[in-house]
Symmetry: C2
Subunit: 393 residues, 2 copies
């Protein structure tokens, strides 16, 4: 394929203008790709770093048509994008949508996602659909308690997931989900891993395996390469080879170009697939400083149909999320930032959200160094210096 | 000092929205700093990656006042900014201007720049003011031919510089400059070097010494660290120490925070100062991939009064400029870009200029690797694949 650059450059239309849209914009500039985002929040996080924002809902037909009119390629940075609408607009305008709306539809519904992957022979935890508390109790009896109840749609950062300890909690759990649900065995994993995969025009590739650390089901830290922990006896390179194998099988099932976040459980030397996302993923933010090509640049390259960049890791890299440490929503004002700025090898990424809310992802801190274990402790110390709690400054 | 981040973030007003403004914008996003630029060209290179562009001349009082109204700090990315106007607006609005307009005034006039630096004991080539062809001939007799005649103001990329071989060329040379001029001895340097220095709130620092390669007085390539050439017998580390010393003396004479491009000659193991620029400089573009902190992030940190980042080099890095290989101005359309994208470890930076002109700087290619010598050859090959000449594709 041949690639020309012009000014104004080729334009990428992105459904969603949150932090992922913002970091896509930051990566697109050097490549000469202009970005326009569609997002319902005026002055969304991406707005200051992209060519333009169209203010409109993710499923707003007029907004999406306007986005398509201005774009050479459409993509999405949020699963709330509407696959039917994307298909319609693609048919109307012939502007390609990457990854394909069919992939988005499959992934959007966690039950359909799991079924699709299981049918492809990819190892997943036991799961099934549940419509009633009775279904849930039956599943718990069969899988063994506790189990993980998940809303089929719209969950993120632990929202829409409820751990259910026993049959007596089934009614409350179903009520908390309040819609279509699925249940999974609770996996007592040794660690969680992530692979950022990418499908290009003719090739697929993956970034190095990375360890992810969650708390209350929200990603807090990534460690790349994963720490060598005592809790597993399996050979690390064998585990990583299995993780790549699973990632490769996942990518083979997906339609359309782009970056995919592939979350994995490691348990007793085995790899189970947890969830996938058809977009850049929080577990891949380390690639901005830590890899030759960032996941955001890679996504831009992939969806534009351009050659992919090198996924090589440059050095051990750790990220730690800056979450909203507040009890009530309030205007965002992060203090203590000088400590991060003053730390050699630490990088700050601010997402530009107007309002901080409890546990909302507001930014992240990345550090690069030599020893992943030491780097994790160091990164925690650095990140702990920033706070939205004005009393703590 | 303490640093808070908010949304909308602190705003940096930049006079000039060319490629340096664009790369400042690309660096400011992650830091949560919003950028507004003032530039006379609608849809200037920086426009797609910054919050807003005010369309107005660099010396447009209304434009600059509007910029100051929207900004927490003002800076400039082009020496054509007007120091008097910056001072006036600073007095009217109390918005800080970094570096100081006084520094800009000193640097803008190459004669005043040289005098100031020479008076500070910094080694510079012999120089003097010339007002007439007679002055020029007298200087040539004294310095020895050839000499370098320079316009005192407004030159860049070799414009405003004329090499004068002998007394018979003096009249034509003065006519070509057509204004206030100065003359310098022609320095038969062994190589050219550059140091990107930075003045922060309380500290100064410098990025590692880098070799620069010019052709027709336009920077073509940078090699960091410099190649070990056979043409000098001096110890490399001693040369670099001298380069840092000169850079440090230069920074001590400058007023105001920010990044400074400091261009040097190396000759017979000595260092002479060539020219300085009170802004990020083409010879520092390698820091985007090659240093822990880029010169653009460093400039944003410095002018905001924030802690500086690490200037450490991550690995050997080479850049090669993409210049307009056309004989006439024409709409910019760069072909062969797929070759750069497909090369592992190569990064593309497109400046988003609408029109390509002969030898205009349109972008650059950076590669990272191990061996600077081999990397330079490799980078030349990669860069040679792109072209504005549609016949060559």
């Amino acid at each position: 394929m041949s690639v020309q650059l012009t000014s104004p450059g080729p334009t990428l239309g992105v459904v969603g203008g949150g932090q992922l849209g913002r970091m896509l914009g930051e990566a697109a500039g050097p490549l000469g790709v202009e970005v326009v985002v569609l997002d319902p929040t005026p002055d969304c996080p991406a707005a200051p770093v992209v060519t333009d924002q169209i203010v409109g809902g993710f499923d707003d037909p007029e907004g999406l048509r306007e986005l398509a009119d201005r774009a050479d390629v459409l993509t999405f940075e949020i699963e709330l994008a509407d696959p039917e609408l994307l298909e319609t607009v693609n048919e109307e305008t012939s502007v390609p949508v990457e990854p394909s709306p069919a992939t988005l539809r499959t992934i959007q519904d966690k039950l359909v996602q799991k079924r699709t992957l299981a049918e492809a022979g990819i190892p997943v935890p036991d799961f099934r659909a549940v419509d009633t508390p009775e279904d849930l109790r039956a599943a718990g009896e069969e899988f063994g308690w506790p189990v993980m109840l998940k809303a089929r749609r719209g969950g993120y950062d632990g929202r829409g997931n409820v751990a259910v300890d026993g049959p007596e909690d089934a009614d409350d759990a179903m009520a908390a989900i309040g819609g279509d649900a699925m249940v999974e065995t609770f996996v007592p994993f040794d660690r969680e891993l992530s692979v950022i995969g990418v499908k290009g025009e003719d090739t697929t590739d993956a970034f190095p395996v990375t360890e992810t650390i969650h708390e209350q089901e929200i990603l807090r830290e990534t460690v790349s390469p994963p720490r060598i922990g005592p809790e597993t006896t399996a050979d690390r390179s064998e585990i990583e080879a299995r993780a790549y194998e699973v990632a490769s099988d996942v990518l083979a099932r997906m339609e359309g170009r782009g970056v995919y976040g592939i979350e994995l459980f490691e348990i007793d030397g085995r790899i189970l697939l947890n969830e996938i996302a058809p977009r850049p993923h929080n577990s891949g933010h380390w690639t901005i400083e830590g890899a030759v090509t960032s996941q955001f640049e890679q996504h831009v390259r992939a969806v534009m149909g351009w050659p992919l960049g090198s996924t090589e890791r440059r050095c051990p890299t750790v990220t730690s999320n800056v979450l909203g440490n507040v009890s009530e929503p309030q205007p965002a004002e992060l203090t203590g930032v000088e400590t991060v700025l003053d730390e050699p090898g630490a990088s700050l990424h601010w997402y530009g959200k107007r309002e901080v809310r409890p546990l909302r992802k507001m930014g992240h801190v990345t550090t690069v160094g030599d020893d992943p274990d030491a780097l994790l402790e160091h990164t925690r110390d650095v990140r702990a210096a920033v706070s939205f709690d004005t009393d703590r400054t």
